[in-house]
Amino acid sequence: MSTSSGLVFDIRHFSVHDGPGLRVTVFLKGCPLSCAWCHNPESQSFETETYMRIHRLDDKEFEFVEHIGNRMSVNEVIQEVEKDISIFDESKGGVTFSGGEPLSQPEFLRDLLKACKAKEIHTAVDTSGFASQLVMESIIPLTDLFLFDIKHISEDEHKKYTGVSNSSIFKNLDLIAKSNKKVIIRIPLIQNITDTGENLKLLREVIRKYPSIERVDILPFHNIAKIKYERFGKNYTLGNAEKYDDQKAEQIKNYFNEVVSIVSIGG
């Protein structure tokens, strides 16, 4: 097994929204994007971060230091994942690599995926698709399922709200879709940013192009991350935005249902 290592900021067991069955989700730290609506601000930096946090016990408060980001070897991660093998077997679950952007630690991710394959563990990669084609090509054969985020069809808008160009993203989607690997598309619904009629229409066109896309998850904006931004002292441009309207989300769900059989709200 490889000796590569990477930066991990969380390993969550009993993960139920990141692919089939009961899963373990491994969150790799660091992301080249900086989406305005990002729910995991602590996942963005490629460095370990340190914060003062508070533990409460009855009425007393205790400060403690929280380190976000832990350098782990492939073996260490796999050992933690393997604890749930019997649960994967029972539920047809597996491991999901998420982030951050897992493809931004390509060697580590590749080694993790290889190790999982060797142990017959189902693998999913939850990605923004922002990576070089070379990296993507090396990941595809090792991955059973992609959870692929698409946000905006317009290059300018994409840059404006995520900080990066979308061109490699759509190229990579094309690569995956043509490889016949399973893909679930995920679309964040952000009021007046990603939910414009034009954007949704064009995203739907893209989805329609690929029959291998079986399912779309639409993720309506929720102001859940506000507390995290405060906790980590980060600036949240959408801090005052409202929770996305349920009815509108329902309409958009139906809109995508016209081209894909399974659309779910929230994934």
Binding site: L57, F62, D84, S86, I224, I227
Partner: protein, 787 residues
């Protein structure tokens, strides 16, 4: 549910729990009459039972399809002064206590004062028991090291076998006659004892027939006066049924339920056994009758449902008899623990789920009653659809049904030496107790406070609450060089107190065998007739006595904290730790914080902590398992608390895991409140590290918020989750779907709810990690969702 059932259900829910002097008065009357002295003890008991059943009030509630009440009215609850006598101050407490009260009226008080108390004072079974126990036993009992199940209630935990659904009392009488015929008075010195026991069983069989006849007569009378023609027909039909069962074997769906109910009433009137009585594998017993009548077109699903619902109401009409003192604290509930078993496997090992199983689940969901309690047995052979249907009910948040692993239960029973068929006909009763239904007397004898043993070890045998030396002097813990030395001392104390408990059990069991035979329960428990021996004396095919370990999560975390902080990281020395504990962590906030937040805990699949659970479990098992009982059976362990974890907690000071003095301990084998942070899978993986197959049952509670169950897929997830645990030989799991009130408490005390996961929006998160506004939103949502 139709109007009639709705009315009966409401009547049962609204009925006030009252203390009925009827049985006490009748049993006193019998013993005062001079009749008792003419007979052997078993026959005395049978005649006392007959006197009660022949003279007690008959109660038929309007519209019901199954008849028979133990008391004169629903929830009018009998007492058993020959077992344990309520004093006048007891009556005052029972009447007015805030929880689990029973109204006692002036007339009742007078009956007690004038008749019941003067006759029974100083001559109850409880008096005999306490006269015979050693001072060490009493000291340990008072210190809260263990409880004693048989000090106010009779031995029980017994479930109906298949046989009682196939036989009438006349058949049993024939068996008794043959057994008497076979007695060998020349060569068997116990033949006379056997004859007396068999005579008593014969009287008990006649008594139940007489009791049913009284109901038949009353039904006949009511039918004469009934104006509604439909009801009149019904009453005539019910009269016919009561003239037939339980004298003869039942042959219809309606008959079988009435048949069982008369026997149930007999068992819970004869004495007050723990866990009342229990129809056991109800879907299995009823199915052949149901199927035949449905196929013939003489029974409809609607009618079957209605009869079952009427049957359900009967259980709810019968709260557990009024308890006092420690017994009330360890089992602080009206529930009398009839636990209906559904699913599992048939005698031949095949999948036992049938269409009636699903119908019964519908009944459970619709009735939503505290009693009877219900569970599903899940074997690897049962379909997921069955598990899913049960999860659908559990998610509505009333705690039923609970989930049991049939394959583990069978392994447990087989490893105890039971025959394969008896094991497959078994299940769980009470809370989670494994038993071979109808063939085994498996008696719980008392809860055992594992954490108190550690507290005594840490104090060299002195109870810090009272300052009394009650344990062994195993050494000043300050002098222990290693964790192993400490653990060695803990084991010595554990063995010492288990010896005291077992010595007491042997005395108590002998007293029950001698003075309180139960001829009715005996005649329906397999092999008692053939052995000519009472249920309470070891007459059953299998005889087991259990000691129930309590607080596994707490003891694990306590030992882990000591190993980590004292012996490994050396953050604090033992002397200082003891000072912190004696001062209830006052002035030791940082230490307490480290113990709570920075020490590994049980329930996270972390071997560092979990190995201590395995150590304690094995020590407890080795101290108890396989030792002989005075009934000719063996002692075994199981791990469940009812409400004793609260009582035991109230007897213990602050502990190394950061728990403050008098706070509750962990329950069953569940983690300490909020200590599991690695999600629900971590909990079952930890829990599965102890060997469930060596027990007679373990109890695991898992909390979920109602929002977790929002989508259809959540049902599949729970099915996987349950199956995963059961694949690891887990015995039982139940789901606690948290309500808004709990969430509010979680806002106030986040440290107790570190494990609480709620579904937020498209994903789940720890409740503690959410901002206050969102927490409030979820609370509101939860209120909305809760049914």
């Amino acid at each position: 549910m139709n109007n009639r059932i709705n009315k009966l259900r409401e009547q049962s829910l609204q009925a006030i729990n009252t203390f009925s002097p009827e049985r006490a008065l009748l049993v006193t009357e019998f013993y005062k009459s001079g009749e008792a002295e003419k007979h052997s003890i078993p026959v005395q008991r049978a005649l006392a039972f007959r006197h009660i059943m022949v003279n007690k009030k008959i109660c038929i509630n309007d519209g019901e399809l199954i008849v028979g009440e133990r008391g004169p009215a629903p929830k009018a609850t009998s007492t058993y002064p020959e077992v344990s006598l309520h004093t006048l101050p007891d009556l005052a407490i029972i009447n007015s206590r805030p929880k689990v009260s029973f109204k006692v009226d002036a007339a009742t008080r007078k009956i007690y004062e004038d008749t019941v108390i003067p006759f029974w004072k100083g001559r109850t079974q409880r008096d005999r028991i306490f006269e015979n126990l050693s001072p060490e036993w009493k000291q340990a009992y008072e210190a809260g090291i263990f409880t004693e199940f048989q000090e106010q209630r009779a031995p029980g935990h017994t479930v109906a076998s298949k046989k009682i659904f196939q036989k009438g009392m006349l058949d049993y009488k024939e068996d008794i006659k043959q057994a008497i015929g076979k007695l060998d008075f020349k060569n068997d010195p116990r033949a006379i004892e056997r004859r007396e026991e068999l005579k008593a069983m014969d009287i008990a069989a006649d008594t139940i027939i007489l009791f049913a006849k009284r109901y038949a007569d009353e039904l006949e009378r009511l039918a004469l006066y009934e104006k509604n023609l439909v009801r009149r027909e019904e009453l005539i039909e019910m009269e016919k049924i009561c003239r037939k069962v339980p004298a003869q074997a039942p042959s219809t769906f309606h008959e079988i339920l009435q048949h069982y109910w008369f026997i149930h009433l007999g068992v819970i009137t004869e004495l007050n056994p723990w866990d009342s009585f229990n129809p056991g594998r109800l879907d299995q017993h009823l199915f052949p009758f149901y199927k035949r009548e449905i196929d013939l077109g003489i029974l409809t699903q609607e009618r079957a449902t209605e009869i079952l619902q009427s049957f359900w109401v009967k259980f709810n009409n019968h709260p557990s008899p009024p308890k006092m003192g420690v017994t009330a604290e360890e089992s602080n509930t009206y529930t009398d623990f009839s636990l209906i078993n559904l699913g599992g496997v048939k005698e031949d090992g095949s999948d036992a789920v049938n269409e009636l199983t699903y119908l019964l689940l519908d009944v459970i969901e619709e009735m939503r009653l505290l009693q009877p309690s219900s569970m599903v047995q899940i074997s690897k052979k049962n379909p997921d659809r069955f598990v899913k249907r049960a999860v659908r009910i559990a998610k509505t948040g009333f705690g039923q049904p609970s989930f049991f692993n049939t394959d583990a239960i069978i392994q447990q029973l087989l490893s105890q030496g039971k025959a394969l068929v008896d094991a497959r006909n078994g299940g769980a009763s009470g809370c989670v107790e494994t038993g071979a239904f109808g063939t085994e007397a498996y008696i719980l004898t008392g809860y055992f406070n594992l954490n108190k043993i550690l507290e005594l070890t840490l104090n060299n045998g002195i109870d810090p609450i009272t300052g009394k030396q009650i344990g062994l002097t195993t050494g000043n813990p300050d002098s222990f060089k290693s964790f192993d030395e400490l653990y060695g001392a803990f084991e010595k104390q554990l063995n010492y107190f288990i010896d005291i408990k077992i010595e007491g059990n042997n005395i108590i069991e002998k007293l029950w065998a001698t003075y309180m035979p139960v001829p009715l329960l005996s005649l329906i428990t397999e092999d008692c007739i053939a052995n000519g021996k009472d249920y309470n004396a070891g007459g059953a095919r299998y005889n087991t006595s259990y000691i129930q370990g309590v607080g596994l999560g707490s003891i694990t975390d306590n030992l882990t904290a000591i190993r980590r902080q004292v012996y490994e990281d050396k953050k604090i020395n033992m002397k200082e730790l003891l000072k912190a504990l004696h001062s209830n962590f006052e002035g030791y906030d940082q230490l307490r914080h480290d113990m709570v937040y920075e020490t590994p805990k049980w329930g996270n699949n972390d071997d560092y902590a979990d190995r201590h659970a395995v150590m304690v479990f094995n020590s407890f098992y080795n101290a108890v398992n396989g030792r002989p009982t005075s009934r000719g059976g063996v002692f075994r362990i199981n791990m469940l608390p009812t409400t004793s974890h609260v009582y035991f907690g109230s007897k213990i000071g602050a502990m190394p895991d950061g728990r403050l003095a008098k706070e509750p301990l962990s329950e069953g084998i569940s983690p300490v409140q909020g200590a599991d942070r690695r999600g629900p899978t971590g909990v079952i993986q930890s829990a599965a590290k102890i060997d469930h197959i060596k027990t007679g049952g373990t109890l695991l509670n898992q909390k979920f918020s109602p929002s977790f169950f929002k989508d259809e897929e959540s049902l599949d997830r729970l099915v996987w989750y349950i199956r995963s645990y059961f694949k690891l030989d887990g015995h039982h799991i139940q789901f606690n779907v948290v309500d808004a009130e709990t969430l509010r408490d979680a806002q106030k005390h986040p440290e107790k709810y570190q494990d609480l996961i709620v579904r937020v929006a498209g994903y789940s998160d720890y409740f503690n990690d959410l901002g206050e506004a969102l927490q409030n939103e979820i609370i509101k949502r939860t209120e909305h969702e809760s049914v």
